[in-house]
Symmetry: C2
Subunit: 319 residues, 2 copies
């Protein structure tokens, strides 16, 4: 029995894939070569998760991989109607990014509450200017996106004494349905977006939404850039509809030097790094190797994406 | 029976003191008038807790207040040998600053781990530069100072998954004695100072100490400035003995524009604000009014300072 063909989208993947030697025929491709290689592959590993190439290269009715794994939490760059309609299994990197992103968001909340950006700016100007800061305990947050990342953010903020409302697509147990989002956001000190990008979430944070937030509130996005109408956020900050925002993800990444977003008052811009703690590429490689071993053995895969919804649905037990 | 005389060191105290109308004869004084007023006062409220004037003005053997309360956690600016030897009761503002300071420290830890200062600097230069950050969960901290502030810092960091060693003057239950500090600090990612300033803690963080810390570690001081030999810390940062530091307190406060500390690489300088969240002056005023009511009724006061040790000793039950 011949080894399955594992196609890796990236020319510089994790050395951890070396553990598949003898169990997979591993081929590497860049975006340009993807379309020609896809019909020959049993498995596609989307290691360069910033690429949109899979959408364009996905075969129609012809031979295609039985399994596609992406080294990311979001699958929005990957899914096209043809892939969604096919019987190909899509999996993601659930389990790698939750804690780092939750820590990152918690750090942003505390940085805003304690005005750390103001402190650094005053330090630069050599000015001793005492200010009162805000206590985080007792403040109110809304976390939008009830997947594992949103739930981990919720857990850490609760540990700091924040009152958190977690909002998902539909209400269930401790999760509020999206119909309650406006009411919750209007009372919140923090609105945190950790939702997947789908057709129903695209552009959901717009002028109307920022208009109902409190003038003292801050907005944080660690989900996907197109969830936010960036021009509307910039206007909301300039008009002081809200007190601050932090974006780690953007409509266009990387952000070019000409982007107006770099210079908006009270907006923190970071380069899509919230989930990437030291060793993250190794952990992604190890995770894929473990999943490949399950797949080779004919075992069910974890982290299977619901291709209609566009994310890994919560397991009933964990809801 | 005439009202007791309450002398307030400050000319602009909390409006909450108005609640003492009819129960105290309240007089205000600045530093210059303190010496003349002290012998006439039953109670001294040190509202301007940045003042060193009480040391200089404290009466020797003559009449003096039976009770001195300071609107601060530390009492180092207040205690002089004559006051320590007297039967005057000294109390502090224990209970007001613990949570705000613990949040502040937690925010600094996360800001270092996620390189928020680097992100803000790169944003200023309009540069998209992805970096790997550090996971806080699983990192190791040493908190020096086992009073209520150190214990609250410990509690919050543990909630984030940090392994915390709390170091106090003497070992007891979950607290390490100061003899273990070197060993613990040599393994720590974070060394956090929340100790009182006493003769045994002055200058304890010096070149020798920074030399035994890990090159990847950071030092944070929210205790008192003179605990740290500032020149030694600056040298340790410049020589890369340690990776970073944050000071909220200094040998001289406020820091003048000529201080070299403003411009040291990887040093965050803030203006003694870690404990001061919105409403803190009101809370200090309310706390004093409550204590005054106990004192008037002849009830025992809380937060009584051990004038030999220079801080409020832990209650046995809470150790």
């Amino acid at each position: 029995m011949s080894e399955p063909t594992l196609l890796v989208l990236d020319t510089d993947p994790s050395p951890r894939l070396g553990r598949l030697t003898g169990r997979a025929s591993v081929r590497y491709t860049d975006e340009a070569g993807l379309a020609a290689q896809l019909p020959l592959a049993d498995v596609l590993l989307v290691w360069d998760f910033t690429s949109d190439a899979v959408r364009a290269a996905w075969p129609g009715d012809g031979p295609r991989p039985a399994w596609v794994h992406t080294a990311s939490a979001g699958v929005d760059r990957l899914l096209c109607p043809e892939l969604a309609a096919s019987d190909t299994v899509v999996t993601n990197a659930r389990g790698i990014f939750e804690r780092p992103i939750a820590e990152y968001v918690t750090g942003l909340v505390l940085a805003f509450a304690k005005d750390l950006p103001g402190t650094l700016e005053l330090q630069h100007r050599r000015l001793w200017r005492h200010r009162e800061s805000t206590q985080v305990a007792g403040s109110r947050a809304v976390v939008v996106g009830a997947g594992p990342i949103g739930r981990e953010i919720t857990r850490l903020l609760i540990a700091l004494g924040v009152q958190v409302a977690l909002v998902g697509r539909r209400a269930r147990r401790t999760i509020h349905g999206v119909a309650e989002l406006d009411r919750l956001a209007s009372m919140a000190d923090w609105v945190i977006c950790a939702a997947p990008l789908t057709e129903s979430t695209r552009g959901m944070f717009d002028a109307r939404f920022f208009g109902l937030m409190q003038p003292s509130a801050r907005f944080i996005n660690v989900g996907r850039g197109p969830l936010v109408v960036e021009d509307d956020l910039v206007a909301a900050l300039r008009k002081r509809w809200i007190a601050g925002a932090a974006l780690d993800v953007f409509e266009q990444e990387p952000l070019g030097p000409q982007s107006p977003l770099w210079g908006v008052p009270d907006l923190i811009v970071s380069p899509h790094m919230s989930g990437d703690t030291a060793g993250w590429r190794d952990r992604l490689g190890e995770q894929f190797v473990e999943m490949y071993e399950l797949w080779s053995a004919g075992e069910p895969l974890p982290n299977v994406v619901d291709k209609q919804r566009g994310y890994v649905p919560a397991r009933d037990r964990s809801e």
